[in-house]
């Protein structure tokens, strides 16, 4: 009897190996490096200061390059999918997140030093944000596109198209709500993303990869890297096959550097807002979607206009 109780007490802990999410797969860093992630100080949090949480991959510039290749490969099918289909998939992500709510509450509490109830509120807001952008996929075209009144026998139409591969520097402080608030609008409109997770608290981001992998989201649409933001962002900003970069997670010095590097192939750059003023829980509007959209305008000849002023 006593032997049996001892056995149950001695059960070995099963630690989770956090890995990158690139091209629909979960590789380790090409460099083989890892770094330690610790819980944030908190009076209410379960984990105390300096508590080790996990070892996560320390990505290199080659991981960034591989992620861009995966994102480029996924772009054709994702941007070509119907907006309605993209909306279904984004909603599916929200459904999957709901099922793993407990896990994310724990991870967000550790990452941001929040109490359990506050962390739960953050996770709920995050899931709602996915739902919000899922709804926007097939509506954004009506808001920013449409017919233009032109002089002459033309039917003139503008429609928004995705920019391409977008490098996203996720916010450093808001490790989950902030992350989703910058990633969801990028992919909602048909772009593909290479995301650099928060440097100090990447665990919610890496776990999000597991959710994305099981949500019908094609591999490569979102690629998540963990590591030193500056180290990974620099080659991404200079990369000729990246079409845009969102600098949400860069400080002033890094943002300036990256902007200069990004100018080389005329990337679209979304500058970071001052950190103190960002309230990720506020209603987001559509700015983050339109930042990575191009407008295509088509002139369709209608033939000579009749006396009524219209030929159709």
């Amino acid at each position: 009897m006593s032997e049996k109780t001892e056995k149950t007490e001695q059960r070995l802990s099963v630690f989770k190996t956090y890995k990158l999410y690139v091209g629909g797969k979960f590789p380790r860093s090409e460099s083989g490096r890892v770094y330690e992630v610790t819980a944030k100080t908190s009076a209410a949090g379960a984990a105390g200061k300096g508590n080790w949480l996990a070892n996560v991959p320390l990505s290199s510039r080659k991981d960034a390059r591989d992620a861009v290749v995966a994102a480029r490969k996924a772009f054709g099918a994702w941007s070509g999918a119907t907006a309605y289909n993209r909306g279904q998939i984004l909603y599916r992500i929200a459904e999957m997140l709901e099922g793993r709510r407990e896990q994310f509450v724990r991870e967000v509490a550790d990452a941001e030093g929040l109490s359990k109830s506050k962390a739960a509120a953050v996770v709920d807001a995050t899931i709602d944000r996915w739902v919000l952008y899922a709804g926007w996929t097939d509506k954004i075209a009506q808001v920013v596109g449409g017919g233009n009144p032109v002089a002459g026998p033309f039917f003139n139409l503008s429609s928004p198209e995705p920019t391409g591969v977008v490098a996203v520097l996720a916010p450093q402080e808001s490790s989950f709500l902030g992350l989703v608030s910058v990633v969801a609008p990028v992919i909602a409109t048909g772009n593909t993303a290479v995301v650099i997770a928060s440097e100090k608290s990447p665990l919610p981001a890496l776990s999000l990869g597991e959710v994305l992998a099981t949500s019908d989201l094609p591999g490569g649409v979102v690629n998540i890297l963990s590591g030193r933001t500056a180290e990974i962002a620099t080659p991404l900003a200079a990369h000729q096959d990246v079409n845009a970069i969102d600098l949400a997670g860069a400080d002033d010095v890094l943002a300036k550097e990256l902007e200069i590097a990004a100018a080389d192939n005329l990337k679209r750059v979304l500058r970071p807002q001052p950190v103190d003023e960002v309230d990720w829980s506020a209603k987001p509007g559509i700015d983050r979607m339109t930042a990575f959209l191009e407008t295509k305008t088509v002139w369709h000849p209608t033939g000579s206009l009749g006396a009524s002023g219209s030929s159709y």
Partner: protein
């Protein structure tokens, strides 16, 4: 250095005397240690080639590319574009070396010849009812003569795999000899074994020796038209064969892996194989080639990366 060649030198002149002597010779070649071969090829693929060595390897690889288009839909315009690309692979950087050759179907030879005129780029033509090789000998030879007459500098022939697998080695041998004769003195002959259809490593070794005995100037892995094309292992095996053949006869023969080599990393692995197996004498586009089309763009992107320090993308190379 261990070799896999038969020891008695005098045998080579006698082996092609009759069907039975040829068979005895080919089946007398030592069997291939498949596990050892693949392990050796894999271990040579782990070398890390960086900075100046990488720059050298990329330029060397570009100069070894046989830029290939072998589609039913090839138009004269596409062949001309390919020729221009072969001469100046990267128009934004004129220090980029030209490729070794363009490789086309026989009816496109004249067009290709015109496109590369005045450059060092050669025109290679596939022939002998490529890629299947299932045509009467007369047709195959006419195919070769037409291509040579149109100005082809190199002929890529396919062996009769059916005869080879049926064990009729003399028929395969005679055919290569006849094609070699049709090539005349001007055109170099590459013999394609289609290693993916030969089933075993032993067969690839036999085919290599058969091709070399029959007078091939190059032995080439595959057509690029079947599921399994050039692999590091079968290329290593053929490199061993040309090394042993030269040790025995003094005649140097080239090797051309073709199909399935798409990245710079792969190409550099093959160059390591060449250097470590056959030796430096083969590190030249007269003796080693890559049969490829998409490989060139990756080489160019890597070259741009080395020159500028930033990653390049497919928007900055030509669409073929």
């Amino acid at each position: 250095m261990p070799t896999n060649a038969p020891t008695a030198a005098h045998t080579l002149s006698d082996v092609t005397a009759s069907d039975s002597t040829l068979r005895r010779f080919l089946h007398g070649l030592p069997g291939v240690d498949a596990v050892g071969l693949e392990a050796r090829a894999a271990s040579l693929g782990t070398r890390s080639i960086k900075t100046t060595a990488k720059a050298y390897a990329i330029d060397l690889a570009i100069s070894m590319v046989d830029l290939t288009t072998l589609e039913g839909a090839d138009t004269p315009g596409k062949v001309r574009a390919l020729g221009v690309k072969a001469v100046h692979p990267d128009p934004t950087d004129r220090t980029t070396p030209a490729t070794a050759a363009v490789c086309v179907y026989p009816d496109m030879v004249a067009t290709a010849k015109e496109a590369v005129a005045g450059s060092s780029v050669k025109v290679a033509s596939v022939a002998t009812a490529f890629p299947a090789g299932r045509a009467p000998l007369g047709v195959k030879l006419a195919d070769v003569r037409e291509a040579v007459a149109a100005g082809a500098d190199e002929i890529d022939m396919v062996i009769d795999r059916g005869a080879f697998l049926a064990g009729r080695y003399m028929k395969v041998y005679d055919e290569i000899v006849a094609v070699k004769e049709a090539c005349g003195a001007s055109a170099r002959l590459k013999v394609i074994f289609e290693t993916g259809e030969l089933s075993t490593y032993d067969n690839i070794r036999r085919a290599s020796w058969l091709g070399m005995l029959a007078g091939a100037d190059f032995i080439k892995t595959s057509t690029g038209k079947v599921a399994v094309n050039a692999t590091p292992a079968n290329t290593l095996l053929m490199l061993e064969a040309v090394r042993d053949f030269r040790a025995q006869t003094g005649i140097q023969i080239g090797v051309k892996p073709a199909g399935g080599i798409r990245t710079t990393k792969d190409a550099i692995k093959f160059l390591v194989l060449v250097n470590e197996t056959a030796g430096e004498d083969w590190l030249d586009n007269h003796w080693f080639r890559f049969g490829a089309s998409s490989l060139l763009n990756d080489l160019l992107m890597q070259r741009q990366k080395l020159a500028t320090g930033r990653y390049s993308g497919p928007d900055y190379v030509t669409v073929d």
